[in-house]
Every structure is written in structure tokens, then in C-alpha cells.
Amino acid sequence: MTPLGAAIFATWPEFLNTLQAGVQRRIAPELWDWVFLPLLEWPVWVVPGALGLLLLILAPGRRR
């Protein structure tokens, strides 16, 4: 399965390096290793999946 990071890199090669430098140099180095990197390692389908879950959560409840 293609990781999310690979899909981003294929689309926009400079983006992740710039983002990583910004996160590690201006916020906290660990934030990249602990939060961003695990998310980027997720399969690319997680993005539409997460959006779908979000919509499900936000959607108004069905009438009973």
C-alpha cells in the first residue's frame, strides 16, 4: 500500500522536506518523529477514510 508521504512526495517533491524543516527547527524535533511521520506512514486511503469518518460524525442524526 502506498504511504501517504509517498503520494505527497510524488505530487510535490519539495513540500515534505520544507514542512519537516519548519516543524523540527521552529517547533520541536520530536513533533515530526512522533506525530507527522507516523501519519505520513499511513496508507494513502486514510485521507478519504478520515474525511468520511469526519462527515459521519458531523452529519445530523437520523430521525427516529
Binding site: 512526495f9 519539495e14 522536506n17 519537516q20 516543524v23 527547527r25 524535533p29 520530536e30 518523529d33 512522533w34
Partner: protein, 329 residues
């Protein structure tokens, strides 16, 4: 008399799910989803936590030997004060360990012995060499070089090592060899950056055979008279003092002589900013900043940058017939 027999689907009110749990089921789903997503992060957080060693010179393993004595070569005067030792070993770029300047805390976990380097490709005598054997066989000298990073900062440090040409004399390049490719070791157990599988690992750098044979091209195994620590590219790296620092490959595991121009790691990522030649030139700005001056780490003094980082008398001739190349990026 009315006898009520409950049917199978009837349950007492006391067993019904409380209303607030039913109405908040979406929040429960969200919490469960977040838990699933963040669990691996939390687990890795412990694994990758950066524990700060007290000593940036700490050796891994602790038995890494001292360097043998090295003669100081004064042919290349730096013309400015040495950087502080502490700055040199705690302010580093080594992308396999991260993007921030404090990667030394993680890099120190990389064992630097035993360490071998393969030299292969278009050579008469390819081989795999133990670094300590090379040190004994070739001998060491100390050279103080100015270091100019593409990020517009600089240092001045004393390297201990040997000229690359002396290693090439051992393996004897064939006439067909036009380029030299330097490959950084891959140690996924300590190099967190290698988890970014979408990048073109291993880290590759390269130069022409003429640049490799230049007297300035140096293979350090030490810094400030001590074994080269991993955050500085230990135990074995290359240094081209007239080029931007990213061209000087670190922790080298393989050197290949070839007739094809190597495409470097950074060239693959951002060719517009990091090219093959990357010779220092204050007149050619980086796409995002000026290269006219550099900040000296430690003093924070800003000094003018010099063409070829001030080493033009030794290397300018290498490029006299290459004016159509993108020599300055």
C-alpha cells in the same frame, strides 16, 4: 387475575442503556477512532524519544580507539579563528537523523566501529577496507578548512584524515572512470529519517574524477584530534571545502567509480536549489536567500563569502572548460 408473562424481546427499564450514552455515540466513535490512529504514535514516542547524552564526543561503542598522531598541514591556512569544539559537534546537518541542528543526540547512537567501506566500480583493485586499516596504511594529517553551508553559515574546523587521491592510488581507477559516487551508510535502527521510504535512500553524493583527485579533497576520520563523531559524518566522510557543505557526504559505506554522473540525493529532491556542482559563489544567490555573506557559528559575526570559499587558487582550474554547466548551485 391478570398474569403478565414478559415476551422474549421485553426487558426491564433498569437494563436499558442510559440516554446520555446513546445520544453521545458519535463522540464515542470519534474517540475510538482517534485512539486507533494515535496508538502507534504513542508507542513510537517512547521508542524514539531523544535522550540527551551529556557528552557530544561520546563514542559508540566506547572502545573506539584514539587516532594515531597526525602531522598538521599548514598549506591551507584558514585565515580565521577556529570554531569552538562544542559548536562543531552540536550544530550539525545530517538528514538521516532529522532536519534540526540538534541531531547529535540521536546520531551518537550510531556505532562507528567496526566500519568498512567498499571501493568498487571502474577500478583495477576493488576492495572492502576497514577504516582502521586504512588509517594505518595511508597515515593521517590534520588540515584546518573553512566550512560553508548552503544555509549561509560557516565554521572553521581541523579535520584529521587523508587525501582521497591516496585511497584512489590503492584501488587504481580505470581510464573510463569519469565520476565518483559516495554512498552514505543506511542504519535504520538509529536513522529515523530512513522511515521516510518515499525518499531516494541511500544518500548519494558525487563529484568528477578530477575533483576527486584534487589535493583539497579530503577524507576525514577525525575532528579536533579525536575520532570523527557520527553527527559530523563519522567515522569516515568526504570533504570538498570549496563546495557547499551538503556535497560532502557523511558516514560513507561505499565509493563507486563510474562513467555516469551520479544524481545526488538533494538533486533528486530539489534540483533547482541543490545541483551537482554546488561550488560556493557569493554572486549567485540561493533561490530563497543571498549567498553574499555567511554567519560564523559561535560568534554570530557575519563575514563576506568568497568564491570557491576562498580556495580558488587550488580548484578554479577544474572548471575552466565547464562554463556551460550550472557550477554555482
Amino acid at each position: 387475575m391478570l398474569i403478565k408473562r414478559p415476551r422474549g424481546w421485553e426487558i426491564p427499564d433498569s437494563q436499558a442503556t442510559p440516554e446520555h450514552l446513546v445520544t453521545n455515540r458519535r463522540a464515542l466513535m470519534a474517540a475510538a477512532g482517534a485512539g486507533v490512529m494515535l496508538a502507534p504514535t504513542a508507542a513510537r514516542a517512547q521508542f524514539w524519544r531523544r535522550s540527551e547524552p551529556a557528552d557530544p564526543w561520546a563514542r559508540t561503542p566506547a572502545t573506539v580507539p584514539d587516532l594515531p598522531p597526525a602531522m598538521r598541514n599548514t598549506r591551507y591556512p584558514a585565515g580565521r579563528d577556529l570554531s569552538a569544539e562544542r559548536d562543531a559537534v552540536t550544530y550539525n546537518n545530517f538528514y538521516e537523523f532529522g532536519s534540526d541542528k540538534g541531531i547529535w543526540t540521536t546520531a551518537l547512537k550510531m556505532p562507528t566501529r567496526p566500519w568498512t567501506v567498499k571501493v568498487e566500480g571502474m577500478v583495477e583493485s576493488p576492495g572492502e577496507f576497514d577504516v582502521d586499516d586504512l588509517i594505518r596504511r595511508i597515515g593521517l594529517e590534520e588540515r584546518t578548512y573553512r566550512l560553508r553551508c548552503v544555509e549561509a553559515w560557516g565554521m572553521t574546523v581541523p579535520w584529521t584524515g587523508f587525501q582521497l587521491s591516496k585511497l584512489l592510488d590503492i584501488v587504481k581507477p580505470l581510464g573510463s572512470a569519469k565520476f565518483v559516487r559516495f554512498e552514505t551508510a543506511q542504519k535504520p535502527e538509529v536513522m529515523t529519517g530512513l522511515r521516510q521510504s518515499w525518499y531516494p535512500w541511500p544518500h548519494i553524493e558525487g563529484c568528477t574524477i578530477e575533483e576527486a583527485g584534487n589535493e583539497l579533497t579530503f577524507m576525514p576520520v577525525g575532528l579536533f584530534g579525536k575520532p570523527l563523531p557520527p553527527q559530523n559524518g563519522g567515522p569516515f566522510r568526504v570533504v570538498f571545502p570549496w563546495k557547499y557543505g551538503f556535497k560532502s557526504g557523511k558516514s560513507i559505506a561505499r565509493i563507486t567509480l563510474t562513467d555516469e554522473r551520479p544524481k545526488s540525493f538533494w538533486e533528486t529532491l530539489q534540483a533547482s536549489e541543490y545541483g551537482f556542482w554546488a561550488n560556493v559563489n557569493p554572486e549567485v544567490p540561493h533561490p530563497r536567500w543571498s549567498q553574499a555573506s555567511e554567519r560564523l557559528i559561535g560568534s554570530n559575526e557575519r563575514v563576506p563569502t568568497r568564491i570557491f570559499n576562498g580556495y580558488g587558487e587550488f580548484v578554479a582550474g577544474l572548471y575552466s572548460n565547464l562554463q556551460n554547466e550550472r557550477l554555482w548551485a
